[in-house]
């Protein structure tokens, strides 16, 4: 009576699915799911991972791409570490996936998770967002150079972000500072409890600038806005409401930063299962429903298959550990 919770709802389908799947899977060469897939968002409802999990589940169901359903499950805690510990115990399970993004690399590097990305099976990179730098609409800083010069002169100027030191937003600004010839640790980074919190503080004039996700910021820009964007971390200019925001590279700072999002699975997931999901997600990216949702959420497709994604993750780890060690936050 009392427990119509997320988890309960999502497992309703399980027993039936298991029976239906059993006979077919044994004979077929190609792997298909035998029951509904547990798709874990390692955070509370409402965040980036949760949105990815729910949007993917919905599109796959809506477009009838898979025979079995994707059940969204929230496992919050420790910036992802609780969910990772849980998935890591489920070695070889082909029915368990989770959403992932740079914290998968950053949290372990900061010493806050026993498991890192090499403990899991990379399935696919799905899309990406970029980092953006905002100032108040009436700020004296007209471009990135103005802001960075001011930061060089007065290191006490505060730059807010929506996450703890050593996590995404901090790395994004510290890396830029480093590329501009400053010390990464010289930026007075002020962590707020979320991107929205940081932006309200910018509007109120409590801090000088904010570094955050471009997708999150797009709603705050445009006509009548109290904020102004100085630059985005992408290689090329973004579309839509951000088309007139120059990239860092355009402004002479050779630095890019991806807020990638992807899917990983339990350790040692069978190859056939990985292949199945790779194809499924690639197909999903082609649908209109996905297109529409991505446009609204400010996501940009950036598909990579399992192998490419795995290599990309290794490379990210290398890059992030450089910045973190410059910041003195590396604890591995």
């Amino acid at each position: 009576m009392t427990s119509l919770t997320l988890k309960r709802l999502s497992v309703f389908a399980l027993p039936f699915a298991a029976f239906a799947g059993m006979s077919t899977a044994a004979q077929a060469q190609e792997w298909t799911p035998e029951r509904s897939i547990e798709f874990v968002a390692p955070a509370n409802p409402g965040g980036g991972w949760d949105t990815l999990v729910r949007t993917m589940s919905r599109v796959i169901q809506q477009e009838e791409l898979a025979d079995e359903s994707f059940a969204a499950i929230n496992v919050p805690g420790g910036g992802g570490a609780v969910a990772w510990a849980q998935v890591a115990r489920d070695s070889g399970n082909p029915h368990k996936l989770f959403a992932t993004s740079p914290p998968m690399i950053l949290v372990p590097l900061a010493g806050a998770s026993r498991y890192d990305h090499t403990d899991f099976t990379p399935v696919a990179r799905i899309n990406t967002d970029y980092s953006i730098i905002l100032v108040a609409a009436d700020s004296e800083y007209q471009n990135l150079e103005d802001l960075l010069n001011a930061l060089k002169e007065d290191p006490s100027l505060s730059v807010g972000g929506g996450s703890a030191p050593g996590s995404m937003d901090h790395i994004a600004i510290a890396g830029l500072a480093s590329a501009a010839g400053m010390e990464a640790s010289a930026v007075n980074y002020i962590p707020f409890s979320g991107g929205g919190d940081a932006m309200t503080n910018l509007m109120g004039g409590h801090i000088e600038a904010v570094v955050g996700g471009a997708g999150e910021a797009v709603g705050q820009l445009g006509e009548g806005s109290q904020l102004r964007a100085l630059g985005v971390s992408s290689e090329e200019r973004l579309g839509g409401g951000l088309s007139d925001v120059p990239t860092y590279q355009e402004q002479g700072f050779d630095y890019t930063f991806d807020i990638w999002r992807g899917v990983m699975g339990a350790p040692d997931m069978p190859e056939e299962a990985v292949a199945y999901y790779e194809d499924l997600f690639a197909e999903m990216l082609e649908t209109d429903a996905w297109r529409e949702a991505s446009d609204q959420l400010g996501w940009i497709d950036a598909y990579q298959n399992s192998e490419e994604f795995g290599a990309f993750l290794d490379q990210q780890q290398e890059q992030f550990s450089d910045v973190l060690s410059e910041l003195g936050l590396l604890r591995q």
């Binding site: 427990s3 919770t5 729910r54 919905r58 026993r114 007075n188 409890s193 929205g196």
Partner: protein, 500 residues
């Protein structure tokens, strides 16, 4: 008048039959969700996103907003009947609501909660309608220094919440602050008091502590005292009717707390929980019979109930006018709006007036629905108190367990719940008040974070708390509210050991 025309336009949308149905469905679902501890509005709304996706944005938001304020409305029920707060915003309601229920006045307590919620909800919709665009300035004027000062002001309520012994109250408050510190420190990323446990990295959920220290401790206490089952079930419900003098008595607290609650709600991050505590402690201080708060004073139910519903509506101001969520629940709402293709923010009033005014108008209707829906339900729901004691106690126990497990699916949290139940029992046996602990737990973390953030921005200069007029003003009020009761006590010439 402009607002009037806009409101009529809003009613044109909200009164469409389908939208009336959505308001009704929303507040009904919300009431139920609010009554059940653990199943909060956040997870309920997250579940609804796929349903609302295909809807007209105004209808979707009307439905989801209904669930949100319906949950706050319904949350008082379990606070009053079982001492088990259904949602975080209704913890303060249990301080006087539960003693009332124990006295056989459950019906009256629930009725007061319903009326006060209705007034709080309605008053704040009027504010939302008239001054929302202006208030966005107020919302952003609060930076870290100002939040720190606000939390200090909130914490001074510890003095009024520790009824018998100030020292025991302060001890409880310090323990509350310590619990609030557990987890990863936001400012440095360091783990504090986690003892290497992954489960503690995100800290201890406020509701786990509240359910343990209030509801579970009460169960344990009754087991110890009554041996269970002996006491004959009393005529538990009592009358729902308020006398004229009672209405007069709560009119002031409801009015003041509605306004206070609304403004607390407007501040991102403050919200219903803090609003209800501020309302409660304010009334306790200014009431002539402030000593009887905590023993079943009707004003102690009216004030937090008016405040939490007003704060809930107030939290729509930063969401709709700035596009920034002030709480977990409004963050989910923001996500839902984005998926529906609406960008909340400064331009929303001109770009999507249908959504803004439709929702505002629907809130008037929703509050009336809630009142009409809840009043006849009260005698039915309050029957739960007629259950034989062993059944009732087991029910509360199961209720709390399911509530906590439903929040995190973590067995560890269940053990924490039991632990806090025992802590609560010990506190009751040795005369430590529970309210200061809960208050400090809610405020401690925000207070510490704001203070360190403010100092980091100012380069370590403490003057930042005094240079800013809002922050200075709040600190002065905090100082006064601490100083005045002490002066009063001095004047009464009570020997210090008795005062303590």
């Amino acid at each position: 008048m402009d607002a009037f025309n806009n409101l009529m336009y809003g009613f044109g949308i909200a009164l469409e039959p389908i939208n009336i149905a959505y308001v009704f469905a929303g507040v009904f679902a919300g009431t139920i969700i609010g009554m059940l501890p653990g199943l909060g509005p956040i997870s309920a709304l997250a579940l609804m996103i796929p349903i609302t996706f295909a809807m007209e944005p105004s209808s979707g938001l009307i439905l989801m907003a209904g669930v949100y304020y319906g949950a706050i409305f319904g949350g008082s029920t379990s606070s009053i009947l079982l001492n088990a707060p259904g949602v975080a915003g209704t913890v303060a309601t249990s301080f006087d609501g539960y003693p009332m229920a124990k006295k056989g006045l459950a019906g009256k307590a629930l009725a007061i909660a319903a009326y006060s919620s209705f007034v709080g909800g309605t008053v704040s919709v009027i504010f939302l309608m008239l001054v929302a665009p202006l208030l966005s300035k107020v919302a952003v004027s609060f930076g870290p220094s100002e939040y720190f000062a606000l939390m200090v002001l909130g914490l001074t309520a510890v003095v009024s919440l520790s009824d018998k012994s100030l020292i025991k109250g302060l001890i409880a408050a310090v323990v509350g602050v310590i619990i609030s510190i557990v987890g990863i420190d936001m400012q440095t990323g360091t783990e504090r008091f986690t003892f290497g446990s992954v489960q503690l990295l995100d800290g201890i959920d406020f509701l786990v502590v509240a359910l343990g220290i209030f509801a579970l401790a009460e169960v344990f206490y009754m087991l110890l005292r009554g041996g269970g089952g002996k006491e004959a079930p009393r005529n538990a419900i009592g009358s729902l009717k308020l006398t004229r003098s009672e209405v007069k008595e709560i009119a002031g607290p409801v009015g003041r707390s509605s306004v206070l609650g609304f403004f607390t709600g407007v501040l991102p991050g403050a919200g219903a929980t803090i609003g209800s505590f501020l309302g409660y402690s304010m009334e306790k201080r200014i009431a002539k019979d402030g000593d009887t708060f905590g023993q079943g004073n009707i004003k102690g139910v009216a004030a937090p109930e008016a405040a939490n519903n007003a704060a809930c509506t107030g939290s729509f101001v930063p969401l709709l006018t700035l596009g920034v969520p002030g709480s977990g629940t409004t963050a989910v709402l923001l996500g839902a709006l984005l998926v529906m293709g609406v960008n909340p923010g400064p331009m929303m009033l001109t770009e999507r007036p249908d959504v803004f005014w439709g929702v505002v108008a629907s809130m008037y209707i929703g509050n009336i629905f809630l009142l009409v829906l809840n009043l006849p339900l009260i005698p039915l729901i309050a029957k739960i108190l007629d259950l034989p004691k062993p059944l009732l106690l087991s029910l509360i126990l199961i209720f709390c367990m399911i509530g906590v497990y439903g929040m995190s699916f973590s067995v560890f949290d269940l053990l924490l719940l039991l632990g806090f139940g025992l802590v609560g029992l010990g506190m009751r046996l040795f005369g430590f008040p529970a309210a200061p602990l809960i208050l400090a737990l809610i405020l401690g973390n925000i207070m510490e974070e704001s203070m360190r953030r403010a100092l980091q921005i100012s380069g370590g200069d403490w003057m930042t708390f005094i240079d800013k007029p809002i922050s200075l003003g709040l600190l002065v009020v905090a100082l006064l509210s601490l100083g005045l009761p002490l002066l009063k006590k001095r004047r009464k010439k009570i020997p210090p050991d008795v005062a303590i």
